[in-house]
Symmetry: C2
């Protein structure tokens, strides 16, 4: 999800990711990040609001991608099909940056504060998907449930994708999870 600008921003981000990986997120200061990048703290704060933002920089772009894909889905698409298109678009983006995602997950797993932030982000994505579905005329209760379930599928699939030893296709893992959901919830 991250497209660093060339120059200062990219160097700062790379320095931050290195330090978070080496020392842990909580133990790294902005001063240390700036020093490793050969830049000033002031320059860091021109690019990022705080040291957490290096890890959540792409969150708004991800949300926009999900929302726009749902809004632009064919009028004939059922709610679950509209969110599936959105998840696939996100999956294709993540597939291109698996190394960054794996590194980022390792850092997040080491910090309770970052894990909380990640949960909040996922909850916001569920709400944004629900809101996008309502804009398509989907009833309130269906929209809310579909948004939550889409994010449950995303979360489970992302965990599998990022913890897999071999690179896998996140989009395919999400399709598999939706199919698994149908099997799990099937009435006997």
């Amino acid at each position: 999800m991250v497209r660093w600008e060339p120059g200062g921003q990219g160097r700062l981000a790379q320095a931050a990711m290195e330090l978070y990986g080496e020392r842990g997120f909580d133990q790294t200061t902005v001063a240390e990040i700036a020093e490793r990048a050969g830049l000033t703290e002031r320059t860091f704060f021109r690019h990022f609001s705080d040291k957490r933002e290096v890890l959540f920089f792409g969150a708004q772009a991800l949300q926009d991608l999900l929302v726009n894909t749902v809004v632009d889905a064919p009028a004939s698409a059922a709610p679950i099909d509209a969110v599936t298109l959105a998840l696939e678009a996100a999956g294709n983006l993540f597939n291109e940056r698996r190394a960054f995602s794996v590194q980022r997950q390792h850092i997040i797993d080491g910090s309770a504060e970052l894990q909380e932030r990640e949960l909040i982000k996922l909850s916001s994505l569920a709400a944004a998907l629900a809101s996008a579905l309502r804009r398509r005329g989907v009833a309130e209760s269906t929209a809310g449930l579909t948004g939550e379930v889409a994010i449950a599928i995303f979360k489970i699939s992302f965990e599998r994708w990022v913890s897999s030893a071999e690179p896998r296709d996140l989009t395919q893992l999400m399709r598999d999870s939706l199919e698994q959901l149908r099997v799990v919830t099937a009435t006997q």
Copy 2:
């Protein structure tokens, strides 16, 4: 979920809930809670680790109820049936204390910190359900997905239940949400 001990604990909890409702959670101090209850701060900290715990006191009991119900479900119960039993047990408990739940939700909606705490609690419940399913011999991937989906159903149903003007049956709302999930994810 909350069974206050008679005496000090119950008086402190009631005083806290009143003040959180009147002034907001963030604007209330432990000193004010103790004063309203006619007790000392020291007594407050004998019963609660901090002012947040008044609102999350029942979280462990809820988790235990969910986990134990899944573990004790008939051996023949499919994963989704085992978690449905657990959700129904939780629903019956919440139904008995709707007034407290409504009051609590109002307080939580007014504080970003409490909303984050609630998300973390829900995420822990999903993980605990998945773990309980694995203890039943359910495969890792099915257990994780079923735990997440169960909590998505709980979250959506709870929001409907707590925001409804008329008292409704939370257990029935969760059954309805599961059925709605089946309809939403049905292949065309």
